[in-house]
């Protein structure tokens, strides 16, 4: 196995040569795009929150859940219509970081594997991208809650 750590001098030399021709990611442009699109998605989210506060019996506290559900639903529709991947190519992190990116990861995998049947295809592969988000999200929430509980017991906070 040739890992990054033990490259031969020849490989290092080539890497340098190749780097010269490699197209760099336009980081600044990507950041600006991500900022705008991400902000836009969050503005839509805020509008949905206000919608729930106005027309239903939700407070700012409780409106979060239906808002998240609505945003995920919208992103799933956009994924199904084939719009979200184009948005993702344009916006990068801007469309991947909000909760809509999570919805996209789930539904895109489900669409991809529907030809393998509902149980082994859709069911088995639906969370192949989003699964790690769920796993590490739940795990880190557990760790943080544990720390907070312990600190409270010990009277630190």
């Amino acid at each position: 196995m040739s890992n990054k750590a033990n490259k031969t001098p020849e490989q290092m030399k080539y890497e340098k040569l190749e780097q010269k021709h490699e197209l760099k990611r336009p980081v600044l442009k990507n950041c600006i795009r991500a900022f705008w699109v991400g902000g836009l998605i969050c503005t839509v989210g805020q509008a949905v929150t206000y919608f729930y506060i106005y027309f239903f019996n939700f407070t700012e506290q409780t409106a979060g859940n239906p808002t998240v559900a609505t945003m995920i639903f919208i992103s799933m529709l956009l994924t199904g219509f084939g719009v979200y991947d184009r948005l993702g190519q344009f916006a990068g992190a801007g469309s991947a970081v909000p909760v809509t990116g999570f919805g996209n990861a789930v539904i895109s995998a489900a669409i991809e594997h529907r030809t393998e049947g509902f149980v082994l295809g859709v069911g088995g592969n639906m969370f192949k991208l989003a699964g790690s988000v769920i796993l590490f999200g739940v795990f880190s929430a557990f760790v943080v809650a544990l720390i907070k509980t312990l600190l409270t017991i010990w009277g630190v906070i």
């Binding site: 206000y50 506060i53 106005y54 019996n57 939700f58 407070t59 700012e60 506290q61 409780t62 409106a63 979060g64 859940n65």
Partner: protein, 157 residues
């Protein structure tokens, strides 16, 4: 293209007319967007003493410079204080709430305060205050509505 324009028009018409459904725009409809400064409301024995009390509470709360809009509703049991925090002060929501509770409890030890910075609670409080103007709206109904608001406030996600 023409068809799309037509649809856009239709949607905007629906949206616009939706905002002014019954032709009359009340303060509670706009409570989210503008400063309403609702007068304090009393659902209680209409004594001079009680009136002074709510007005003084409202005055004291409004004095806090982090806030820009306050609604106070007092019934014989509870006093609801709903307020809107200036946007950049929203980072200190918890601190402001603590400060306010402390201030109120020190100054009015006999009252039982329910303090909320939630927009929904504010909207409902303004709505209640508007309904109180209607002579057909009985105190009993008002009390019921206030209880509902308090219940909503205590609801967690």
């Amino acid at each position: 293209m023409k068809k799309r324009l037509l649809i856009m028009n239709a949607i905007s018409m629906i949206l616009l007319s939706g905002c002014s459904g019954d032709g009359k725009v009340t303060d509670s409809d706009l409570a989210l967007l503008k400063t309403t400064h609702p007068p304090a409301v009393l659902i209680d024995k209409n004594t001079k003493e009680n009136l002074d009390l709510v007005q003084s509470i409202e005055y004291d709360v409004e004095k806090m410079k982090e806030l820009y809009d306050v609604a106070v509703v007092k019934s014989n049991g509870d006093t609801l204080v709903a307020y809107k925090v200036k946007h950049l002060q929203r980072f200190h929501m918890k601190k402001i709430e603590k400060k306010m509770t402390k201030m109120l409890e020190e100054k009015y030890p006999d009252e039982n305060f329910i303090v909320s910075s939630d927009y929904k609670i504010f909207i409902e409080a303004v709505e209640l205050q508007e309904k109180m103007k209607d002579p057909k709206f009985t105190d009993k109904e008002a009390k019921k509505k206030l209880d509902k608001i308090i219940k909503l406030k205590n609801e967690m996600t």
